[in-house]
């Protein structure tokens, strides 16, 4: 063929038809192998990233809510603890008072009892002493009788002695 550059002939038509076939083949290959898969991949990736971001956002929100809740609970726990403590303190105070009162009462009772007992003891001792004196007096009287003193003198003597003892010694 003559070297050619530009001619309006059948060869041009033939070239154009071949070129159309070529561009059609290229279109098929490029669409199926390049454009569609890459677009799909890009779309998948952007979807995934969007989903990830959304998830992260949601997680953050959840965490925030959780944190708020915990803080709330912590605050309420603090308050509760405070309340429990103050209640306990109040109760302890009351207990203390009651215990103190009771102790005082007890002490009073013990003192009273002790006093009573002491009184009783005193009385008992006095009685004992009295009876002892009586006995003593009797013994003395016996002895006196033996030493022939009449009964009337004896009785008056005993009474006198008792009275004396009772009034002077035991009331002092």
């Amino acid at each position: 063929m003559e070297p050619r550059l530009f001619d309006l002939d059948f060869q041009l038509l033939h070239d154009a038809v071949l070129m159309m076939i070529a561009i059609f083949v290229l279109l098929l290959v490029a669409s199926n192998k390049l454009f569609n898969p890459v677009r799909k991949m890009l779309k998948d990736r952007s979807d995934r990233i969007a989903k990830n971001i959304e998830d992260a956002e949601k997680d953050k929100e959840d965490a925030k809510a959780l944190k708020l809740e915990y803080e709330d609970r912590l605050k309420s726990i603090d308050k509760e603890a405070e309340q429990i403590l103050s209640e306990a303190r109040a109760k302890a105070l009351k207990n203390e008072e009651s215990i103190l009162a009771k102790a005082r009462e007890d002490a009073q009772a013990i003192i009273e009892r002790a006093n009573k007992e002491a009184e009783l003891e005193k009385q008992r001792v006095a009685d004992e002493v009295k009876t002892e004196m009586v006995n003593l007096a009797s013994v003395l009287a016996g002895k006196v009788v033996k030493a022939n003193v009449d009964t009337s003198v004896q009785d008056s003597l005993i009474d006198e002695t008792l009275k004396e003892i009772g009034e002077s010694t035991w009331l002092s």
Binding site: R4, L5, F6, D7
Partner: protein, 83 residues
């Protein structure tokens, strides 16, 4: 009247030379386009990219007439349609 081949070739060469005078028009046009683009960039430096691409597109289209002249010249010189 019969002309021999060399005469036609010579006339074709002259014709080719005349044809590339068509390059004047696109030269002026592209210069104007570039000047206005430069003014536009001066007024609005932020739009430099847009202005440049629009300018290049317009220049490439305006260049076509000059290229037609060049094309005719190449045809006359190399395809020799008149011989």
């Amino acid at each position: 009247m019969e002309f021999n081949e060399n005469f036609i070739l010579g006339c074709s060469a002259i014709g080719a030379g005349l044809a590339v005078i068509a390059g004047i028009g696109p030269g002026i046009g592209q210069g104007i386009a570039a000047g206005h683009a430069a003014a536009a960039v001066g007024r609005n430096p932020g739009a430099k990219g847009d202005v440049t691409s629009t300018m290049l597109l317009g220049q490439a289209v305006a260049e076509t007439t000059g290229l037609y002249g060049l094309f005719i010249a190449l045809m006359l010189l190399f395809v020799k349609p008149l011989v």
